[in-house]
């Protein structure tokens, strides 16, 4: 007879029953190492396979990339194992993903965001790949694909320009002309307002579209080099040049759609679709909102107007997506072959067949299948002297998301008090850029 702590008689059997019931818990605990052991054993993929980490989770790009990889497998006999993650999740986890056991190659963005991970040693240089594919790309794309150490880290695949979009039929109906200078642009805004249109559609609920507005005015007014200096944290946000960007921007704010901070870019685009708005400054992806074929054919765009003749319209904001090689790829030779294939015009043509909202990064790609909109975007990029990547791709993302996004939202809602806003940005910038 055993005695429990309560002093009541308690037979051994009952104790065993209790233990048996709880035994499962111990087994569960033992199961954890077993499970992780399983995961390890699956790593023995043959050298005939290249793994790809993909952020192309939307249906259209997903199919586009699948077609490209299938074509590569057919040509080389090397299988491609695509590991697709939700677009935003991929971005949020990129840090841990690249430090863990990443895929051989992974899809990512050009610009500072690529350089950051390259500088941290989380990507391998691919100068040997560029020896083969270099001829396929214009010089602006060469610059976009290099890390801060001057080595290549990215194979660019697709890009698309930012510009001012409008509907041809609306311009015809009211007899508007495409403005090329700042004064003409302002005059057009004034006329549109008189005609009962919202001159400039605007939605900044997601907080990034306003960055595009800033970028356009900044490099038109201060030039590409200043854009680079400012984004790299070297130029000061309290500089008179920056102040002038905000003053110029404030001139147009009365012509922007009211209540922008509460509106998504999709809703803003709908006012352009509905012909209630005259213009909309955004990336070419705005075309995705034109679901009706006739509406889409009616869509056109012009380059953001010139502000300072010294810089004209020589800079185009053209965010570029591409693919990088991870720090220790398991199949290095196969990865190089895949990257070389992705750098060919053919690979881009296959992709763009599935996704006509973008254009090829290579100037060699066949443009005969392009829509009028794509052709125009292609020309704009091909003729550009400088390509920028958008504020959050050209600067530290921690700075742009935690400091610039709220600051710009504050500005477009209430453009007064620019000076205190700018000194606040500059103070926060200093601490962020100081932290390695």
């Amino acid at each position: 007879m055993h005695h429990s702590s309560l002093g009541r008689p308690m037979p051994g059997t009952s104790r065993r029953t209790v233990l048996r019931g709880l035994g499962g818990t111990a087994l569960l605990g033992a199961g954890i190492p077993l499970l992780s052991a399983c995961a390890d054993s699956s790593e023995s993929s043959g050298t005939k396979t290249v793994t790809v980490g993909s952020n192309a989770s939307d249906a259209v790009p997903k199919k586009g990339y699948a077609d490209v990889y299938a074509a590569f497998t057919k040509q080389s006999g090397i299988a491609v194992d695509i590991n697709t993650k939700d677009h935003n999740t991929f971005q949020e986890q990129i840090n841990t993903y690249l430090q863990g056991t990443p895929d051989d190659v992974f899809q990512w963005f050009a610009g500072y965001r690529m350089q950051f991970f390259a500088a941290k040693g989380l990507a391998s240089p691919i100068d040997d790949v560029w020896k083969t594919i270099g001829g396929n790309f214009p010089s602006a794309m060469h610059d976009l694909s290099k890390g801060q150490d001057g080595k290549y880290y990215l194979v660019p695949l697709t890009t698309s320009p930012w510009a001012v979009f409008y509907r041809k039929s609306v311009f015809q109906q009211y007899g508007y002309e495409v403005p090329t200078t700042w004064d003409a642009y302002l005059a057009l805004c004034k006329r549109m307002k008189k005609d009962g249109l919202v001159p400039i559609a605007y939605g900044d609920k997601d907080a990034w579209p306003a960055m595009g507005s800033f970028d356009q005015i900044n490099f038109r007014l201060n030039g590409y080099d200043f854009h680079v200096e400012l984004m790299a944290g070297r130029a000061s946000w309290t500089d008179a040049k920056v102040r002038k960007v905000f003053d110029t921007w404030a001139e147009t704010l009365p012509y922007h759609q009211e209540g922008a901070v509460g509106r998504t870019w999709q809703d803003a685009a709908q006012t352009l679709v509905a012909k209630k708005a005259g213009m909309y400054m955004l990336g070419m992806f705005v075309a995705q909102q034109f679901t009706d074929k006739a509406d889409l054919d009616d869509l056109d765009f012009f380059a953001f107007p010139e502000i300072d003749p010294a810089y004209g319209q020589d800079t185009v904001e053209a965010p570029t997506d591409g693919i990088m090689l991870s720090k220790k790829p398991k199949n290095h030779a196969g990865s190089v072959k895949l990257l070389e294939f992705l750098g060919t015009p053919q690979a881009e043509e296959i992709y763009l067949k599935a996704d006509p909202s973008l254009i090829a990064a290579s100037t060699k790609a066949d443009t005969s299948g392009y829509s009028a909109l794509q052709k125009k975007g292609y020309d704009m990029i091909a003729q550009a002297k400088h390509l920028t990547q958008f504020m959050d791709r050209d600067s530290r993302p921690d700075f742009t998301s935690t400091v610039m996004q709220p600051a710009l939202q504050k500005f477009i809602r209430d453009p007064k008090g620019i000076d205190s806003l700018l000194s606040s940005i500059e103070r926060q910038k200093k601490t962020i850029f100081a932290s390695g």
Partner: protein, 326 residues
């Protein structure tokens, strides 16, 4: 199982007839051992594993984020952790334009939840407690929002508040230039718009808590006060409400917790843009994503922790003191 009598139902095994279960195989000699070696290993695992998990997942992480609050770290490799002392906090208190609004909004969140949905929930509970007709239907209707996740509530209320196509602006015609009401973007409006959505849910929660409390009120108290000639309001004020004291404590604690953990609704609504900043959202924005500011985000989390402790510690002290007295 050692005997037939104990195998019929599992419960019987726990309390067999006294003396029937003496083990026959092995008679304990001398010092009676309560547990065999195997038992002790099993029990050790049972107590040890949860302890290890708890310490690793709760204490180590909490202490690690306190330590990280005094560093800067981008999350890439441990060698990039740099000790910066109090700099994160200085920056937070003096330079971050979102920090003080966030603290203020967390406080407003609490005050509004206490001032609006709590009395309303109590009122509804008192009405439902009277066993009026269709009481179950009302109860279900008011409680329904509590079943929904906060994120879903955020999506639903966005449809109501959408300035261009939302229910309110469409009905009152406030989606036209000139008399435009931007419920989501205007910092003078958006916090209140969200708080209405939060209250919509919180009322049902409070109602259920108070209803449970009211069900526990001794009916003889009501009888006694009726005999004394008290009217309904007097009975509630002087007899019923004082007996709800324990429920009020629970309500207070629940509401404080709700105010401090407020996050999902706002994140879905406008990601904590100007006017709706919250501490929890600042933490998330700084830590999640590429090239994250883990040290800085941890510093904000520590502030949140300190505020939570400032609320919890007095509560625990009061509770323990009461128990000691009892």
């Amino acid at each position: 199982m050692s005997s037939d009598t104990t195998t019929k139902i599992p419960e019987a095994a726990a309390a067999p007839p006294p003396g029937a279960a003496t083990p026959k195989r092995r008679v304990p000699q001398g010092h009676q051992r309560l547990l065999t070696r195997r038992d002790r290993i099993a029990l050790g695992l049972m107590a040890g594993l949860p302890t290890i998990l708890h310490v690793a997942l709760v204490w180590v992480t909490a202490l690690a984020s306190i330590a990280l609050a005094f560093t800067t770290w981008d999350g890439i490799g441990f060698d990039s952790i740099q000790w910066v002392g109090l700099r994160n906090f200085e920056e937070l208190f003096e330079q971050n334009p979102q920090f003080w609004p966030a603290v203020e909004h967390n406080v407003i969140w609490f005050v509004v939840l206490i001032a609006l949905p709590t009395p309303l929930g109590l009122f509804l509970a008192v009405q439902l407690d009277k066993n009026i007709r269709f009481s179950r239907v009302y109860q279900t209707a008011f409680f329904l929002p509590v079943v929904l996740s906060m994120a879903v509530i955020g999506f639903v209320w966005q449809l109501v508040y959408n300035p261009d196509t939302g229910l309110i602006n469409s009905i009152i015609g406030a989606n036209e230039p000139g008399r435009y009401i931007d419920w989501i973007g205007d910092p003078d409006l958006n916090l209140w718009a969200i708080l209405i959505a939060a209250s919509w849910r919180h009322t049902g929660y409070m109602m259920i808590l108070y209803l449970a409390g009211l069900k526990g009120v001794d009916p003889s108290l009501r009888e006694a006060s009726a005999l004394d000639g008290a009217n309904e309001w007097q009975t509630f004020k002087n007899v019923i409400f004082p007996t709800l004291r324990p429920t009020n404590t629970v309500v207070l604690v629940v509401t404080i917790i709700e105010a401090l953990r407020a996050f999902d609704l706002v994140y879905v609504f406008n990601k904590g843009a100007e006017g709706t900043e919250l501490l929890s959202i600042l933490v998330t924005n700084n830590i999640i994503g590429e090239s994250s500011r883990i040290g800085y985000g941890s510093a904000i989390a520590v502030v949140l922790l300190v505020i939570s402790l400032a609320v919890i510690i007095p509560y625990l002290v009061a509770t323990f003191r009461k128990e000691r007295r009892a």
